[in-house]
């Protein structure tokens, strides 16, 4: 479904990603793990069209999308739930969610999608008219995830959804991600919470200093010595 081929990318003249390749098949949950500054966010931003590869290409269902504008990538069915939530602070929760359904294919069915999403996040139902900026960090992360789902994407990408959240909220976030995945959604997730993510994922990639050093089934990575030492602290 998604095929990132030999991508070099970065900001200005700084190269961050070097020869990065990864694949995600329909229905899979795939994760990229790596330390701070490894280039995980840059990888997701490159797929989203916010960063244009210097060489190599990003293909989605056979079409090259690496030269598209971000809004065209969203139209193709790829949605990124960004690091740090990035809500619209002066909008209500409801408006934030409606903005998620801006994409052409999602707009017509947004009331149905809203009902589905609120089933998954009952708490947000009580907060619909509240300003997004007045919510707690955990609630804001839920809004960010719900907003991403409002786009009815075919590939949903999460960038560090558990960052800065209390352990109990982290559990809830991973619960939601498992439910989303169980519904058949294709998921690409970037996390520093490596154990949790590998538990939820089918396959994983390890990114170090902008290069993919390992890829394997999630269970195999959980048993891999390097992963255990470097990321699980075992």
């Amino acid at each position: 479904m998604l095929d990132v081929r030999n991508v070099d990318a970065g900001y200005g003249s700084t190269v961050i990603l070097q020869d990065v390749s990864l694949r995600v098949e329909a229905g899979e949950v795939v994760t990229i793990v790596g330390a701070n500054g490894a280039g995980k966010t840059t990888t997701l931003r490159t797929i989203s069209g916010l960063v244009t590869p210097k060489s190599g290409g990003v293909f989605f269902e056979g079409e090259e999308i690496s030269k598209l504008q971000p809004h065209d990538v969203v139209d193709r069915g790829i949605t990124l739930i960004p690091e740090g939530r990035q809500l619209f602070p002066d909008m209500s929760v409801r408006e934030n969610l409606l903005m998620g359904a801006h994409r052409r294919d999602a707009r017509g069915v947004r009331s149905e999608t809203l009902a589905e999403v609120l089933d998954l996040f009952p708490r947000l139902g009580e907060r619909l008219e509240q300003h997004a900026s007045s919510l707690s960090g955990g609630e804001q992360q839920m809004v960010a995830i719900a907003r991403g789902m409002m786009a009815r994407p075919r590939l949903l990408m999460f960038d560090e959804p558990s960052l800065g959240l209390a352990p109990i909220i982290v559990e809830q976030v991973f619960d939601v991600i498992s439910k989303v995945a169980a519904s058949g959604m294709t998921v690409l997730i970037v996390e520093q919470n490596v154990w949790h993510t590998l538990k939820a994922a089918d396959r994983g990639y390890v990114l170090e200093n902008g290069e993919m050093v390992l890829d394997d089934a999630a269970e195999a990575l959980l048993r891999n010595d390097h992963v255990r030492q470097a990321y699980l602290g075992i």
């Binding site: 989203s48 916010l50 504008q69 971000p70 809004h71 969203v74 139209d75 949605t79 990124l80 960004p82 990035q86 809500l87 619209f88 602070p89 002066d90 909008m91 408006e95 409606l98 903005m99 998620g100 801006h102 994409r103 052409r104 707009r107 907003r147 786009a151």
Partner: protein, 295 residues
Amino acid sequence: MQTFLQIIANGLMLGGLFAIVAVGLTLIFGIVKVVNFAHGEFLMVGMYLTFLLTTGLGVHPYATAVAVIPILFVLGAVTQRLLIQPLMQARDEHIQIFATVGLSTALINLALLIFGADIANTPNYGVRSQIEIGPVRILEGQLWIFLAAILLVIGLQLFLARTNTGRAIRATAQNRAAARLMGINDRFIYVLTFGIGAACVGFGSALIAPLYPTSPTIGTYFVLIAFVIVVLGGLGSIPGAFFGALIIGLVDALSGFYIGSDLREAVVFGIFLVILILKPSGLFGTRVSQSHVSP
């Protein structure tokens, strides 16, 4: 007492006129984050268009709005697309200021070339006749401008609050990077918003032209006052611009009568400086929105 009421009425009417110019300016500033120094010249272009259409076709100046509004929309949209957008990558916002100042000068000189320095009087079709409202007398045209300003402010607010496009415009202003991730074409939003801001002043031109003689430099006077109003009302706030305009209109009228008409502008700009020092976010401003540079 009668005189006082008359001055208040004059001030409010003037405020309505200022509001109709300031609303587009604050919209462009609030969303596109560009200070449009050519806004007054957009007004000037709109007033000349009204003059030409009114005299050429022999129609009521208000009727020319049907043509002036879309033409000004295109002028604004083209300005954003061809002048501002290429400079947005420059990352240095000052360059955009030089660009709009340059556009302003170019438009003034173009008008001088075409129309000369003489003033053009748009036929007023009776909108300069006085009407009495209780104890005060105002020009019919002033009342229409005042009502039009209220309609414009309400209309814009509803558009921004209730429509999909309006919501996308607000989202882009609040968090451009997130808006792009929602599938919003941010460049299109900026072109559209600049067009709408210019169209607002086009609407104003058709109403203002029959009351004020048009000259190549007419915009300079209005736009300076409009800047004061936009700062007073809180950068980017449309209701703020409306009430700010009423306040400045009243200040202008009251100081003109009680202090001396030569000192009106000194008082207005004095207030401008005081606001800048004491409350830079303006009377109605909540926060100064983030810049358009994506994180």
